[in-house]
């Protein structure tokens, strides 16, 4: 119905405006997450086409993307100033954790890649 679509459009616009207000750092992280997920989706599509023969490779590839996305989400949570829980945590510390966890994740991924 016209009203419905109107409402949807209004909703989307308000979301966009609100999003524009988010700090840049958070936008970077969001973009990173989108990138990781997109890569994962492409890999899944590939597997859907050719079959899962080196299943370990597929898994490692997908899990790398998903894992790094998850870590980025964690980072976002911790860095977000509006989040009261992590008020005392310096963002640098969160970033260091992010880097460390990513490195460990990728070591395991590389091992599993085969």
């Amino acid at each position: 119905m016209a009203k419905g679509t109107n409402d949807a459009q209004l909703l989307i616009q308000s979301l966009r405006k609100a999003y524009a207000a988010t700090p840049t750092t958070l936008k970077i992280i969001d973009l990173y997450v989108v990138y990781a997920v997109a890569t994962a989706l492409i890999q899944v599509a590939y597997m859907a086409i050719v079959g899962s023969f080196p299943f370990n490779s597929f898994l490692s590839g997908v899990l790398s993307c998903v894992g790094t996305a998850v870590l980025a989400v964690c980072l976002r949570i911790q860095v977000n100033k509006d989040n009261k829980e992590f008020k005392d945590l310096p963002p640098e510390r969160a970033f260091a954790d992010f880097v460390l966890c990513n490195l460990v994740l990728h070591l395991v991924i590389m091992n599993f890649l085969g």
């Binding site: 990173y32 990138y35 599509a45 023969f53």
Partner: protein, 804 residues
């Protein structure tokens, strides 16, 4: 990397036949077998205690077949057959092993059973020449001994046979048997012997043997210095301390005397006394004054030495002393032992092991001693002729000895017995102990001395004929054998005696014609010889029939058992088969053979054996198939029939194929026993098998290269989008520290991260985990340090910004 391989606790075979093995594996020694303990470290589908199992199987297999090793076992089939049943304490597994040469099949691995030996044993036809039971075969010395002598005593190139003693023994044996002792070889012997005689270092024993050899070979004696030797021997006699010394020196002196030289024994009485002093009260002798044990062997030597003294001294010896020795000899002969058939011998068991000589040596020593003494004693020795005959039998019953020493003992003793002064043994022998009634053989008997020489005129009579169970054949009366002077054989015609076939003990008596001869010659009382009378057994009334169980109708067929028949019968399980025949001896009596067997053999080579029963004059076998169905394993089909009849005295023992019978048996119920596995042609079972071609796992289908590369490119697209998005957002490097040191740390930080990522790429490409981890360790520490500095700097600047 700790070894996780479970120690195999037990392997148990699940019954017999065997193909499955039950394992219990307990690696962590908690007394329970868990699934985890069946490890497969190298992931090849075979558990790591495979080696233990192989070892065990090899051991079991070698027990039956032998000769297998590790290379001959390999696991065949799909390794995935090794499956575990989890949840139970014991884990069964089916590891199919192919052992080289064995059957690889789904059948259980059977351990082959022993072939039924029964029928093979039953087909043994005993040749009649084997004499069983009491009485060994006695034959006088013959040419066989002569040829054996030449084989046993083989001289070396210089004519010697080893030591001087062995040479003497060989030459003495040759002398007795009449083997040629001339030739260039023995010239050399003469030379060595004379060297020995003139050498001052020879012992008395050497001198004794050397002198004897000189006598035997007839060596030229001009070069030998007999005086010196004689004086040496006489000194030895005087100084002798042991029996053997006395024996050798006296024997040497006697030998010198025999070769024509004059020899005087100075103190004959004293020497006699010295020897006599060593005697014991039971007739035995000691070797010297100090030794405590006495022996019979020494007695023989002592007697021979005493005889030498008497012959050397002439009439100087007191006759009473000789009489005493005669009594000693009588006591000695009380120790004689006997076998059941009249053979006598001497043996002693209570001597030191190194002094134990054995019955042959002991008896030989006594024989030589006693005969030598009897030759010099004016009065006759009080030993019965029967004892001499017993000793002669003992020596002859050895046959042809296997060693040179034994041969010498036997021949030397028999030579002393041949012409001794006590009594000369006469031996009765049968040249043939299997006599055929069909060919009207005569019973032939030879009576000779032990060396086969002519005996004095005598009469041989056959007293009794005994059956194997010692019953007399009553129809037989004592008969005297006729004499054939040309062949020197006593013979008797058997046909008028009407003795049936069988194994008999014949009892002979030999008596010398000359009435005084019984003193000189020893013939023995009753001589028992075992003989076989064989003949042709008539087979009569042989028939085979198939009848119904109520014995109404019968289809009888006559059999001719002189050749194979091809009778063809058929029967079902409700019928009976009857086979009957009669056996008659040449004299018309009913005959009971040792072996009579009927064999039924199925097409699949399963065999069954039956023994016919005897009743009155007939042998009958009735096979009631109703009762035999289970025994035949329910196998219907064609059965070949064979009949085997055999006996030692049957000249026409036979194995005949009678024909075949088609048996129709009911179907086997499920629980019926299976027929035993028949031995398979070894080549088919143990021969090479067809090659197993292993099919490797087909590689998975991969997508085309271009597709993969295309998607790789596609994966990089989001990265591009990410970078573009970043620019759109307005990423900047403002936060990058500007002052020198922090800037350096910041670059190092980013550099460090980049290095780690590069390390990962290298890890994927070619490094292994260990190297990677090592490098990662170093890089990580570095990165930690640098990162900490950078981030703390950034933190401090942002705090300053906030507060400022």
């Amino acid at each position: 990397m700790q070894a996780r391989c479970a120690r195999l606790k037990t392997i148990r075979l699940l019954g017999d036949p065997v193909d499955d093995y039950e394992f219990e594996a307990d690696a962590d020694q908690d007394d329970s077998s868990d699934v985890e303990e069946f490890y497969d470290d190298d992931e090849d589908g075979i558990p790591c205690f495979y080696d233990d199992v192989v070892e065990h199987i090899l051991a079991v297999y070698n027990e039956y077949f032998g000769g297998m090793d590790d290379d001959d076992i390999r696991s065949g089939g799909d390794p995935k057959e090794f499956s575990l049943i989890s949840g139970e304490r014991r884990f069964k597994s089916t590891l199919h092993f192919q052992i080289k040469g064995s059957i690889w099949s789904s059948e259980p691995w059977t351990i082959p059973m022993a072939k039924p030996l029964v029928l093979h044993l039953l087909l043994l036809l005993i040749c009649g020449s084997a004499l069983l039971s009491s009485g060994s075969v006695i034959h006088p010395i013959s040419d066989a001994h002569r040829s054996a002598a030449t084989e046993l005593f083989v001289p070396a190139a210089d004519g010697s046979f080893g030591s001087l003693e062995e040479t003497f023994e060989a030459l003495r044996a040759f002398q007795i048997l009449g083997v040629d002792r001339t030739g260039a070889k023995f010239e050399g012997t003469c030379k060595t012997v004379s060297e020995k005689l003139s050498s001052p270092t020879s012992t008395t024993k050497d001198l004794y043997h050397a002198l004897k050899i000189t006598g035997i070979l007839g060596c030229r004696t001009e070069s030998i210095e007999f005086d010196g030797i004689t004086s040496r021997l006489q000194a030895a006699v005087k100084d002798a301390s042991s029996l053997l010394e006395l024996y050798y020196s006296l024997g040497g002196l006697l030998s010198v005397k025999e070769q024509g030289k004059d020899v005087i024994l100075s103190d004959a009485d004293g020497t006699f006394q010295a020897i006599k002093a060593l005697s014991q009260s039971d007739g035995r002798w000691r070797y010297d004054k100090d030794s405590t044990g006495s022996s019979t062997f020494a007695a023989g030597i002592a007697l021979e030495a005493l005889a030498s003294v008497v012959s050397l001294a002439g009439s100087d010896i007191d006759q009473s002393k000789i009489a005493v020795v005669r009594k000693d000899i009588t006591k000695l002969f009380d120790r004689i032992k006997r076998y059941g058939d009249g053979t006598l011998y001497f043996d002693e068991k209570n001597v030191d092991p190194d002094q134990y000589k054995g019955p042959l040596a002991t008896s030989a020593s006594i024989t030589s001693g006693v005969t030598a003494f009897a030759a010099v004693s004016s009065e006759k020795l009080n030993i019965g002729g029967e004892k001499i005959l017993g000793l002669a039998k003992f020596f002859l019953s050895i046959g042809i000895p296997g060693t040179a020493k034994d041969f010498f003992y036997q021949i030397n003793s028999l030579a002393s017995l041949e012409n001794n002064r006590i009594s000369i043994p006469l031996v009765l022998s049968l040249p043939a102990t299997v006599l055929s009634l069909t060919s009207k053989d005569q019973l032939k008997v030879e009576v000779t001395t032990v060396f086969g020489s002519r005996a004095p005129p005598l009469a041989v009579s056959l007293l009794k004929v005994l059956t194997p169970d010692s019953k007399e054949v009553t129809s037989f009366e004592k008969k005297e054998l006729e004499y054939d002077p040309e062949n020197r054989i006593h013979f008797l015609d058997l046909s008028p005696l009407k003795i049936d076939v069988g194994k008999y003990s014949l009892i002979f008596k030999v008596s010398v014609n000359d009435p005084e001869g019984s003193d000189i010659y020893a013939t023995g009382d009753q001589i028992i010889v075992t003989a076989f009378f064989t003949g042709f057994i008539k087979v009569d009334k042989a028939e085979i029939a198939v009848s119904d169980s109520d014995a109404t109708s019968e289809s009888v067929q006559k059999l001719d058992l002189s050749k194979d028949s091809l009778i063809s019968l058929s029967a079902n399980h409700l019928q009976k088969m009857r086979l009957s025949l009669q056996l008659t001896t040449p004299l018309g009596h009913s005959f009971k053979p040792h072996q009579m067997v009927v064999k039924l053999r199925h097409e699949s080579k399963v065999e069954h054996l039956f023994v016919p029963e005897t009743s009155s004059r007939q042998y009958k076998l009735v096979l009631n198939f109703l009762g035999l169905v289970e025994k035949f394993y329910y196998l219907s089909g064609r059965y070949e029939i064979e009949l085997a009849v055999g006996d030692a005295v049957m000249e026409n023992s036979f194995l005949r194929s009678i024909g075949s019978i088609e048996l129709d048996l009911p179907e086997a119920p499920e629980k019926a026993a299976k027929p035993p596995a028949q031995p398979v042609d070894p080549l088919s079972r143990f021969g090479p098998k067809e090659e197993i071609s292993h099919i490797f796992r087909a590689p998975e289908k991969r997508p085309p290269q271009e597709l993969s590369l295309g998607f790789m490119g596609l994966t990089l697209l989001p990265l591009l989008a990410f970078l573009i998005g970043l620019l759109r957002i307005g990423v900047n490097f403002k936060g990058f520290p500007t002052s020198a040191v922090p800037a350096m740390f910041a670059t190092l930080f980013h550099g460090g991260i980049g290095a780690v990522l590069l390390l990962y790429v290298l890890f994927w490409l070619k490094l292994d985990l260990f190297t990677t981890l090592k490098a990662l360790g170093f890089l990580g520490v570095f990165l930690l340090f640098v990162g900490h500095r950078t981030l703390s700097y950034l933190a401090s600047t942002s705090v300053k910004q906030k507060t400022a």
